[in-house]
Symmetry: C2
Subunit: 226 residues, 2 copies
């Protein structure tokens, strides 16, 4: 199969994988674009048509994911608080599905301070997108609530993402769902949570036994005792 | 007064101020260390004894503040959730007190992508310190709650800090205090907030008029109606 016949996305993935393997074996600084191109069986020129630099190869996934996240959010959502959690889930799932490659990339990045910094900056772009989206979707909401919520969603996602990549068996997509649902409850933006359920009003006939009242109150407060 | 007689901290502040003025006038890239040294009336060698690079001059305040924040947290605090808010306040107050210089620095940073990135990375160090401190101070607390809370505190602080520097009259230290107190309430870690006050239990003689009950409930729920 020639380069021209190849699917562009799959072609990029192959170059990314080759580049990361070369970085892992020979070191990031020492590996040249020519070596990456040779390993991927492409010309230097073809490499530079797809990536601006050696560094860009490392973060190619994020460029693509940031676009996907923007597109997802632009679709419009009834619950924007949940929508950014779903967008974070999309990123998590992507790296979960290519976990082996993600781990090799992670190890390369950890060894090079400049790459660690670039990763931090890249990751911050997600938070920026979440904030812009929420401010547009909820123009009447206090901006500091949005800023804090978006930061917390991003930080929790990143924590679990890194744990998953490093091989923590508890850092599953289900764990992410639970963490982000907890966060929506904390911020009072989960359906059925928030201020509308913080108060229980109860009325009983005088003389109702304490146990009966306690049971009724327990039911109203929900089975989790909150 | 000779350089040797000068107070080291004040000496650094003077060089930082001169450097930022030179960057603002001549552009960051075009300004050389020699020009900064000449403007500050020091030798190139003295400059490099205080700063590793031109870039370091811009972020000298953060280096110092990160140390102050670490020292403050290391003092030990009864309420670690509030302690990181106080640490954030310390950073805010520092830049508030040198607002003119902060604004000139902000303008220089905004024009140079590499400086914006470096600022993001520097700012992330505060979040990292907050997380490490909270994990040590509250080892039994869920790590995702800590991660989300620290990210939210940092993000809200940064938002108000940037607003203050840009001249937003509402972005005061009092506004920061309110925002961070709200955040502690959201996370259920404010003294007197959290699950222990989410439930109001009331008992009235049968036949008590609805208005009397409503007033009593209102008092229990607090004057802010929560």
């Amino acid at each position: 199969m020639t380069e021209r016949d190849d699917v562009p996305g799959r072609f990029r993935v192959r170059v990314v994988a080759e580049a990361i393997d070369r970085f892992a074996e020979g070191g990031y600084e020492a590996t040249t674009v020519d070596e990456i191109a040779a390993a991927a069986g492409i010309s230097r020129r073809t490499f530079f048509r797809q990536f601006r630099s050696k560094e860009d190869v490392i973060f190619a996934d994020h460029e693509q994911l940031l676009d996907e996240v923007k597109q997802y959010l632009a679709m419009g959502h009834q619950d924007p608080w949940a929508a950014i959690c779903d967008a974070a889930r999309l990123v998590f799932t992507h790296f979960r599905e290519s976990r082996d490659l993600s781990l090799r990339r992670y190890r390369v990045v950890q060894l090079v301070p400049a790459l660690r910094d670039r990763e931090l900056v890249t990751v911050h772009s997600y938070e920026r997108i979440f904030i812009d989206y929420l401010r547009e979707a909820r123009p009447d909401e206090g901006v500091l609530k949005i800023v804090g919520y978006a930061a917390a969603v991003t930080a929790c996602h990143n924590y679990l993402l890194r744990a998953m990549i490093r091989g923590d068996a508890d850092a599953t997509v289900e764990a992410l769902d639970v963490a982000l649902a907890d966060l929506r409850t904390t911020y009072g933006v989960a359906p059925g949570s928030g201020t509308d359920q913080e108060v229980v009003v109860a009325k009983f006939p005088a003389g109702t036994p304490a146990d009966v009242i306690a049971d009724a109150v327990r039911r109203q407060l929900g089975s989790d005792g909150r």
